[in-house]
């Protein structure tokens, strides 16, 4: 495996422009001769499929839900960034670029991030043209807010449903192309393998989740946009079906996996209520603009609060610890996600956590209500307060809200070069599934931006460039009659049969939970050499257990959620090991990756730029063989590496 990031020559600000000029074009009348597979219908996949079809390519698009409109992008709440500088508050492409590199703790590729910032404006234009009903001011102009600790207001939003509205925008563009016959949509189809011919990606194997039929689909190239792998933790804010399967199978076929240990833990989620819980719910980060985060100063008081013997409202300010305001006076409750999450964990580790489990901190609106009145708070956050009450049964106007960090986003993903092409030629990766732009920590409202820039404005060029390079005589030549497809189909079928035939005693969900506990404990907010080594051993054990004691009821020729889950959990288990390995390799703390051995005296993350300014890319060498690490050195020509400080 060779890593060549293919970063264009020239000054940062000119790279994308000159690259676009240098890329090959495909004659419009030849485009219909090419077939492109897009796996995923979220912001990245949906936008890519619609745009490629608009250009004239034949597109097949796949998703596991019953409609492309249900991809998990739908759940994003807060907003999408763009450097429009509509607020005249000093924003610019360069500032958005700089903030993203800094926010990512200097572990992202400069050229990609700059392009992202550059394209951000076009995205907003495109979405508005598509009919996305962004929030407006009374004068009719687009409204913005400051989000996730940014010092400029560059976030566009549609109430608390920005992801929904953006996704419905791409979904409508995609639907138009489906209606025109340019996109063939395969709902309820799960990608289970990638097919290579002469080392180029030429198709996929999918299982029809209704009939159970396993089929081959050939194309001139494949785009993977299957989202993130947060569900490796079992409990996360991701949708139930989010998985690593498509990405991991591609990894096994030779695609390098970059920075799997970079995961984001979001500070404001509703705490876990019991062991039967299936998912965690995010409360929008915007709540931190007015809510104050605290725990009781003394562990005895916290214990009483947990047991319901003490009303938190009765605790006077001198018995409270507003720990973010204390530790980070200049950013206070708006400190970045990784920092806020870790601070909450520390408070709970000291026995000062609230909620019945001891894993919760208060997010209190008492002072904001006193200052601005209940009505103002209701206007700002009414729907969020209602949602909180609906889930917990508590009224946050009266009792302080409780929150706890939860897994939310994964910065790691399949390695891609500047063209978003993986180490397998002809396989492109977009959206959360690739590793590209957020380094070791993603800033709020930047994932939606990245998914759409990949889908609308990057892949349509770079995919065309690849197809152009292959030449029109190659177009549509490989069909699923090629023996590589039969071989891959057999691999997939054998695996399904195996899962069904183990006939053990433990359900896929139970294995998933066990895996999640290991990962959360050892590869969550604080990691150590000892813990990670233990985790790897435990996961190996779990994997053995899985393949000897799994029980999948039902059959394969029908809708079978147990079988689907079993396949995903099998991949999560192997992937979990890779994640821990990556975390063990990275002997520094950066962004969401915190190694307890590497911290300052004050407990802040300590980077090691001399030895770790690289992207760690893993090559799969076979089952039960240790993967090989490759390094893409990160070169900073424009931004000076500095210690992130939010004090």
């Amino acid at each position: 495996m060779k890593l060549n990031a293919k970063i264009p020559e020239g000054p940062l600000t000119q790279k994308w422009t000159s690259h676009k000029f240098n890329m090959k074009l495909v004659n419009p009348s030849n485009r219909r001769k090419y077939n492109v597979i897009v796996v995923g219908s979220g912001l990245a996949g949906g936008a890519a499929a619609a745009s490629l079809a608009e250009q004239g390519y034949n597109v097949s698009c796949f998703c596991y839900q019953d409609s492309p409109r249900r991809a998990h992008s739908i759940a994003a709440q807060g907003g999408i960034n763009a450097s429009k500088n509509y607020q005249n508050d000093g924003d610019s492409v360069y500032r958005l670029f700089y903030d993203t590199v800094k926010g990512g703790d200097y572990r992202a590729r400069e050229a990609n991030v700059y392009r992202l910032a550059e394209l951000s404006s076009d995205i907003i234009d495109q979405c508005v043209a598509n009919g996305v009903p962004f929030a407006r001011e009374y004068g009719g102009l687009l409204a913005n807010r400051s989000f996730g600790g940014a010092q400029v207001s560059r976030t566009f939003y549609a109430r608390g449903q920005t992801g929904q509205q953006l996704l419905l925008g791409t979904y409508s563009a995609l639907s138009r192309q489906i209606g025109l016959g340019k996109v063939t949509m395969y709902n309820r189809h799960e990608m289970l393998d990638l097919v290579k011919v002469d080392n180029h990606a030429k198709g996929i194997i999918v299982r029809n989740m209704v009939t159970g039929k396993v089929t081959s689909h050939a194309a001139d190239c494949v785009v993977i946009a299957t989202g993130g792998y947060g569900n490796v933790f079992f409990l996360s804010t991701n949708a139930q079906g989010c998985n690593v399967t498509a990405a991991f199978r591609a990894h096994k076929q030779g695609a390098g996996f970059a920075n799997p240990c970079y995961t984001q833990i979001h500070p404001t989620c509703i705490p876990v209520h019991g062991d039967k819980q299936s998912k965690l719910t995010l409360m929008s980060e915007s709540l931190r603009n007015d809510g104050r985060i605290w725990v009781p100063k003394f562990a005895e008081d916290a214990a009483k609060v947990r047991d319901g013997m003490l009303d938190p409202n009765a605790l006077s300010d001198d018995k409270r610890d507003y720990f973010l305001e204390r530790k980070y006076p200049s950013f206070g409750n708006l400190a970045p996600r990784d920092i806020s999450s870790r601070a909450a964990k520390e408070a709970c580790d000291e026995g000062r956590g609230v909620a019945s489990t001891g894993l919760g901190v208060f997010l209190d609106f008492r002072d904001a209500i006193q200052r601005d009145g209940k009505k103002a708070i209701e206007e700002r956050y009414g729907n969020l307060f209602d949602m909180y009450q609906c889930i917990t049964g508590d009224n946050p106007y009266v009792t302080p809200m409780m929150i706890f960090p939860a897994v939310h986003y994964t910065m790691g993903g399949l390695w891609v070069d500047y063209n978003l092409e993986s180490t397998i030629p002809g396989m492109f990766v977009g959206g959360e599934a690739n590793f590209s732009d957020h380094g070791a920590n993603r800033l709020g409202a930047s994932a939606l931006m990245q998914g759409l820039s990949d889908g609308y404005f990057i892949l349509p060029y770079t995919v065309g460039n690849y197809l152009g390079e292959q030449g029109v005589q190659a177009a549509g030549k490989i069909t699923n009659e090629h023996p590589a497809f039969a071989e891959a189909e057999n691999r997939v079928r054998a695996r399904i049969d195996k899962l069904l035939s183990i006939n053990g005693n433990e359900s896929p969900r139970s294995f998933h939970k066990r895996l999640g506990n290991i990962i959360w404990e050892y590869c969550g907010m604080a990691r150590s050499e000892e813990g990670l080594t233990t985790a790897i051993a435990k996961i190996k054990e779990l994997r053995k257990d899985f393949w000897s004691n799994l029980r999948v009821v039902g059959e394969s020729g029908n809708i079978n959620p147990e079988l689907e889950r079993a396949g995903r959990v099998a991949d999560f288990i192997e992937f979990g090991e890779l994640m821990c390995r990556d975390a063990l390799m990275r002997e520094e703390s950066c962004g969401g990756h915190f190694r307890i051995e590497h911290q300052t005296e004050e407990g802040e993350a300590l980077r090691d730029d001399e030895n770790f300014t690289f992207t760690g890319v893993w090559e799969h060498l076979g089952d039960n063989v240790e993967p090989r690490l490759h390094k893409e050195e990160l070169i900073y020509e424009n931004v000076k590496l500095a210690t992130r400080s939010y004090k």
Partner: protein, 253 residues
Amino acid sequence: MDFTLRIWRQKDSVSRGELVEYKIHDVSEDSSFLEMLDILSENLVEDGKVPMAFDYDCREGICGMCSLTINGIPHGPENGTTACQLHMRHFNDGQTITIEPWRAKPFPVVKDLIVDRSPLDKIIQSGGFITSRAGSATDANTHLINKGTADYAMDAAACIGCGACVAACPNASAMLFTSAKVAHMNSLPQGKPEKHRRALAMVSTMDDEGFGGCTNIGECEAACPKNISLDVIAHLNRDYSIAQVKSFFKPYV
């Protein structure tokens, strides 16, 4: 909490289905409705039985995947709440709960509690979009949109496409769904050029896909987990009538 559950089981689209009774014990009142079904599934797997298939994904009331008729009401008794956001504290200990799939002719049962809602996608494919090629957009602030209009469009666009409106309607009409999309797009300046064409195309697809007509019963509004208002139907009716008249004189509207 303990419950008796009567759940619709149906092997596939051609088999006959029936309600099967299950008992479940010790459910936390903080559990969501779907978490309760997860527990039941795990219990069934433990006994080597095949659990019921049901749709879900986000479990936070936004993807529109979950689709259960609970005690005869799509998404259950709580107003403005999807099945996945419904919590067991809203039920009584010892209660019997009947769980069925969406009941509507255009949505055939695929298995157990899962139905085929692809006709809704077809309606969108026929006109539920604003034609705008990536790359061709003007600056986002070119069209000023007054806040009231933007809010109106957003209210309509909040539809999650779950199909509860169809399931609740005695005529299995998809009027609320279709109108919500038309109202969203037709009210915005970007959506105006295709306004009439959109209304005609979407209504015609709705008919072709076997949805019934709207007779202003209003059950759809009551069942809608996003509280989409009946006003959007009036909007569609208005645009549709004008479009019909126009198309009478000009073949292309």
